[in-house]
């Protein structure tokens, strides 16, 4: 392809927008209560939660703080905390 | 300058004036001439008056406007003569070919030829959607009157461009060619 037409295409990249800055509240996981069930991962519209051996881990660089994870956590292991 | 032998076709929508003009152009091309077939479509439907035109020349023609006066004027439906005065369409000294058994009115400054195309078409069973296809006999007559096109080129054109009932159509052209006479 001519590099000149290439200018038309948007290419996939993590962080197309710096979404993390939008947040007014952040989800904080109480790992001692986390059962690693994956519900928070499943319902996250931003795909910023990973289930690791330690439990659910949130990527705050892109988390917008919607709070779905906290609302859906079956064991209430996630709390929404105000950003300062 | 464009100098051409011009034909004006006058018929009703559905009678095949445009097809006749196309076949005459093809026949002229078969003879090594350059030809245009120019239809003028109104937005009207079946039965409304339809014009088509030919320009035939030895050289490439550029003019695509409607022909105002033809060397030959072909009338596919004599009922149209009540609507149009032929003098409007024919060059002085030109010819008209009318699908009619006879012409009662005095002629102008042009020669008049007649043929009964309806009888020819009906005799051959050439009908589409209930209408006699009078264009083929008239085409044969026009080609003969024009003095430009031979019967063979005309038949070749029909063979090239017509897909249905080719033999009957060729026979209709032949009968038109042979039956046309002054009237």
């Amino acid at each position: 392809m001519s590099g000149r037409v290439e200018v038309l295409l948007s290419r996939p990249v993590v962080g197309a927008v710096p979404a993390g800055t939008w947040r007014t509240e952040r989800p904080v996981v109480d790992q001692s209560r986390c059962t690693k069930c994956g519900i928070c991962w499943l319902y996250c519209p931003d795909g910023v939660i990973q289930i690791t051996d330690q439990g659910a881990v949130v990527d705050y660089a892109y988390c917008k703080g919607c709070g779905i994870c906290a609302a859906e956590c079956p064991v209430k292991a996630i709390k929404m905390v105000r950003e300062v | 300058m464009d100098v051409s032998f011009d034909v004006v076709w006058l018929g009703r929508g559905g009678q095949g004036a445009v097809t006749a003009a196309m076949l005459l152009a093809q026949a002229a091309v078969n003879k090594g001439l350059y030809a245009l077939a120019i239809p003028f479509f109104g937005a009207e439907r079946r039965g409304a008056p339809v014009f088509a035109y030919n320009r035939i020349s030895e050289k490439t023609l550029h003019v695509r406007s409607r022909v105002e006066k033809g060397d030959v004027v072909a009338v596919l439906d004599s009922s149209l003569l009540g609507m149009y005065s032929l003098e409007r369409f024919v060059k002085p000294g030109g010819s008209v070919v009318v699908n009619a058994t006879e012409r009662g009115r005095a002629a102008g400054n042009f020669k008049e030829y007649c043929l009964d195309a309806v009888e020819i078409a009906e005799d051959l069973g050439l009908k589409v959607a209930g209408w006699a296809l009078v264009n083929m006999p008239v085409l044969g007559a026009v080609a003969r009157v024009s003095g430009l096109i031979g019967e063979l080129e005309l038949e070749a054109a029909v063979k090239e461009l017509i897909r249905a009932h080719v033999d009957k159509n060729i026979e209709a052209v032949r009968r038109g060619w042979s039956s046309v006479r002054p009237c």
Partner: protein, 304 residues
């Protein structure tokens, strides 16, 4: 363990431009997980035109054709025919909002459905023109507030899945983001049906447009099904079946009161009790019709 059994791969990358708690993005995340990387998406003007991220960056890891508002079903028609002609089979998906589907895009959708192109058409229905700031669409529910229906929508939501079923497309289904497994199942089924247009109508909660706290997206989505406001079903080759939780909701006593669904949303905050009762009656009426359809299909199945 949801994260183990559910498709892992992400096709929407972190750092997209959706609002917090966006139901549409959640839906699209599941849809792409179901369909995988061999998928082209056609997107008309809608929220997702923005969610994709600003040029030259994109949050989407599959090829996307953005196209004018009314044009998506037609663009997908040409795309799928071209891919077939070029010997490059893939999923061709239209991802359109309710405006682009039930209103301005309906003609093109109807044409594509009638012609039977091998397209998966998904309408994510957030029940108003959200991209321009919450104006009433043909899919806005009765009585809902929008900026162009400030005292409540006087007209009824257009039933486009039924219109699509009337086109005799091979597959029509509804989905809801509270039920991701159902989404995966239905999208994979749609993808496996090779001939004809597959139409999916998706419930798509919108926190700013519906005036609710973004953490409630999944809860509201679930309540929509539990109250019977949103019906999960599929119509496969003309055969209607309820799916998932909706299968258990034919009996009224199994359905939660619609008030539970309505009261969480600011767009319904102005409703008087008699209006809530009217909406409840309308929902019950809808379920009576479903009962008839189910009974008719059952009788037809027996007679065969």
């Amino acid at each position: 363990m949801a994260h183990r059994i559910f498709p892992q791969e992400e096709y929407i990358l972190k750092g997209h431009a959706a609002c917090p708690g966006c139901g549409a993005t959640l839906l699209l995340r599941y849809v792409l997980k179901a369909l995988g990387p061999s998928t082209y998406i056609v997107i008309p003007a809608c929220c997702t035109s923005v969610i994709a991220g600003p040029h030259p960056r994109s949050a989407f890891r599959v090829p996307v054709l953005h196209i004018a508002f009314a044009a998506s079903a037609a663009a997908a028609s040409g795309m799928v025919e071209a891919l077939e002609k070029l010997g490059k089979p893939a999923n061709v998906v239209v991802w359109a909002g309710d405006g682009g589907t039930v209103d301005i895009g309906l003609q093109a959708l109807s044409g594509a459905a009638e012609r039977g192109h091998n397209i998966i058409y998904i309408c994510y229905d957030n029940e108003a023109y959200m991209n321009t700031g919450i104006q009433k669409s043909g899919s806005t529910p009765y009585k809902a507030w929008t900026t162009t229906t400030p005292t409540g929508n006087p007209s009824f939501k257009k039933d486009v899945p039924s219109i699509m079923a009337a086109h005799r497309v091979p597959y029509v289904a509804t989905i809801n983001p509270a039920y991701p497994n159902d989404i995966i199942y239905k999208l994979r089924k749609a993808s496996s049906i090779r001939g004809g247009l597959k139409y999916i109508h998706a419930f798509s909660p919108c926190p700013p447009g519906w005036r609710y706290d973004p953490s409630l997206t999944v809860k509201i989505a679930r309540l929509a099904v539990e109250t019977g406001v949103w019906v999960l079903y599929e119509v496969e080759n003309g055969k209607f079946s309820l799916t998932g939780l909706s299968r258990n909701l034919l009996k009224k006593e199994n359905r939660k009161p619609v008030a539970e669904y309505l009261k969480l949303q600011g767009r319904f905050a102005h409703l008087k009790q008699e209006e809530i009762d009217e909406i409840q009656r309308l929902v019950d009426e809808q379920w009576r019709r479903i009962e008839e359809i189910v009974a008719e299909h059952g009788a037809r199945a027996k007679s065969v």
